[in-house]
């Protein structure tokens, strides 16, 4: 079923499209340490793809490769049918790949609304000179950006804190603001780095709901990292499992759950 290049249909009846992003034989080293060893997998349009694994498995490194923060020594990254040359993170972002960070990287000095508006920077065609020359056009663009920002803010239910400086918000809300900033860019691929890390049960449930809603409402392709197995299995359509920089499993949650290597990695196994 998964080999079909035309996509597949999920268990809950959603249609998944063709390949958006393909990682081919990615190897990433830091000095002598191999963080990622010869990993290949793909991400398809409209799906929620998870990368899981125990701590130190290389999940975050993989996400950083996709978003351009790390450049792999070997392997190819294909995005929307074209091989991607080595790029700076901001260039990757301009291609339509938005992300959040495990440790939250928000603009602490700005309000929630301003933070979300920065997510629209990639969408703005006007610069300072054209802004001065064609005031009307620039204003129209600003209004459109504002509307999109408000739409996302409503969607993620953070209207009440729109004007609050981010530095005053609790952790869970910060995570949501970060999601809003990534989402407002209308990304072709949304990367979430441990969206549930450090949250309590209630916040985790909220976040899961938002991720599903985003995927459902906007059809956003999402790739996320988690080490909490339970959450991921409920959320994702397909799962890549990593351990010690290697891929040890890839498939639907059910397939992965039955995979002996995966069970060993998570429960530990006596090596002889």
């Amino acid at each position: 079923m998964l080999d079909d290049s035309e996509g597949y249909v999920t268990t809950d009846g959603r249609k998944i499209g063709g390949v958006v992003m393909e990682m081919k034989n990615i190897t990433l080293r830091f000095g002598g340490v191999v963080a990622i060893k010869d990993i290949s997998f793909d991400i398809r349009e409209g799906e929620i793809r998870a990368i899981i694994g125990p701590n130190g498995a290389g999940k975050s490194s993989m996400l950083n490769v996709i978003s351009g923060f790390y450049v792999p020594q070997e392997g190819e990254v294909w995005f929307r049918g074209a091989k991607r040359p080595p790029m700076k993170p901001y260039e990757v972002a301009r291609q339509g790949i938005a992300r959040t960070f495990q440790n939250i990287a928000l603009f602490e000095g700005m309000t929630v609304l301003d933070n979300v508006m920065t997510g629209r920077l990639t969408q703005m065609s006007q610069n300072i000179f054209t802004q001065a020359l064609w005031k009307g056009k620039a204003e129209k663009e600003e209004v459109e950006n504002r509307e999109m920002a408000e739409k996302i803010i409503d969607f993620l239910e953070i209207q009440r804190i729109r004007k609050t400086p981010v530095s005053r918000l609790p952790y869970g809300l910060k995570k949501r603001v970060e999601l809003a900033r990534a989402l407002v860019a209308e990304p072709k691929l949304l990367l979430l780095d441990e969206p549930m890390a450090g949250m309590n049960v209630e916040e985790k449930e909220d976040m899961s709901r938002f991720i599903l809603d985003v995927n459902d409402e906007f059809g956003t392709t999402i790739a996320l990292i988690e080490h909490d197995m339970g959450v991921v299995m409920d959320l994702s359509d397909r799962v890549v499992v990593m351990d010690y920089g290697k891929k040890i499993g890839d498939g639907t949650p059910d397939e992965v759950r039955r995979n002996q290597d995966v069970i060993d990695a998570y429960l530990g196994v006596a090596h002889d």
């Binding site: 923060f69 990287a105 700005m110 920077l121 990639t122 006007q126």
Partner: protein, 329 residues
């Protein structure tokens, strides 16, 4: 009204005007420090370089003429034309943008993620390099700078104050113009950072590099932009100081006066730079007038600002407007 009080008022006004010039230099520091965490020691020399370039362009001086003549045995000094002030200012702005690009491309780009002290050392190097470059390009003699700004006593104020107090205040027209221009500059910088795409990106970079990258902002571009803005502010400061006291190498020393200004105002606040500049300007004039001259034998302006800054460092290290430093344990 007692005579002493009237004199004090005049001194205060003149102090405010002097403070504006300190604030202008401090402003350049704040711009770069906010966006990149670099304390740019070269800001004062940039003002010098800008002023010298402006004079050179206006007078049609041949850049590097001494060097060229020494190598080729020629006798070039002037192109023999004069360029109107406004055009020369535009051209000099272009030169400052070019300088910003060079600084980013050849120096700062290679020092990303280095500790602040390394970056600071790099700007010290830059300061001396620029000073040498200014000398080599335009020569070291003191030059007159006249871009057509009004100078001399403001007769209107003289007359009005004379009618009220029976004593005419001496306020220089140049100081008034400097104040207006500085105010315009600050307002437009604020508007720029609040309402334009580039301004928003600049604030984003100042706040968090990683996050800025993730929303598609090129750090390199923003840093060139910031150095260009600082270069432009340096040009404005250079014009004011140059018009007032001639374009000379001691101009680069005014950068040191900006240090206490920054300690008062905070390194990250544009309003802080302005208020800090005004406080230092007024403070040193008033202190000299009321205490320095009668009791210390004068010339207290040389050290007053630093002592004030020292006191501030002890009681409010983040400055008046700076972000409070809270370290989580």
């Amino acid at each position: 009204m007692p005579e002493q009080l009237i004199f004090a008022m005049e001194v205060t006004l003149n102090g405010l005007m002097a403070g504006v010039l300190y604030a202008l230099v401090a402003l350049g520091f704040v711009l770069i420090f906010k966006a990149s965490g670099i304390f740019n020691f070269a800001q004062g020399v940039m003002a010098l370089f800008a002023a010298m370039t402006l004079v050179g362009i206006m007078d049609g001086q041949v850049p590097f003429s001494h060097l060229i003549n020494a190598i080729f045995g020629t006798d070039l000094h002037h192109f023999g034309w004069h360029i109107p002030a406004l055009l020369a200012i535009v051209l000099t702005t272009g030169v400052m943008v070019g300088l910003a690009w060079c600084v980013q491309q050849f120096v700062m780009r290679h020092l990303v993620n280095q500790p602040p002290i390394i970056l600071f050392m790099a700007t010290i190097g830059l300061a001396y390099f620029l000073e040498g470059l200014s000398d080599l390009m335009w020569g070291s003699e003191i030059k007159n700078l006249d871009v057509g700004l009004p100078q001399g006593i403001n007769l209107w104020i003289d007359e009005v104050t004379f009618n009220i107090f029976g004593y005419g205040f001496f306020i220089d027209n140049l100081d008034i113009v400097a104040t207006i221009i500085a105010a315009l500059l600050v307002v437009s910088l604020m508007a720029f950072s609040q309402y334009t795409k580039e301004g928003r990106a600049m604030r984003a970079v100042a706040d968090d590099h990683q996050a800025a990258l993730s929303v598609g902002i090129s750090l390199n571009f923003i840093w060139v932009l910031v150095w260009s803005l600082a270069g432009f502010v340096a040009l404005v400061a250079g014009i004011m100081w140059g018009t007032k006291s001639g374009v000379q190498f001691s101009l680069s020393l005014i950068a040191l006066k900006a240090l206490p200004v920054l300690m008062l105002g905070g390194f990250t606040s544009i309003p802080g730079a302005i208020v800090g500049g005004l406080i230092i300007g007024v403070g040193e004039q008033l202190f000299e007038f009321a205490i320095g001259a009668p009791y210390f034998g004068g010339a207290t302006q040389n050290w007053f600002a630093y002592v004030l800054a020292l006191i501030f460092l002890v009681f409010r290290p983040q400055g008046l407007f700076g972000e409070k430093i809270i370290e989580r344990v």
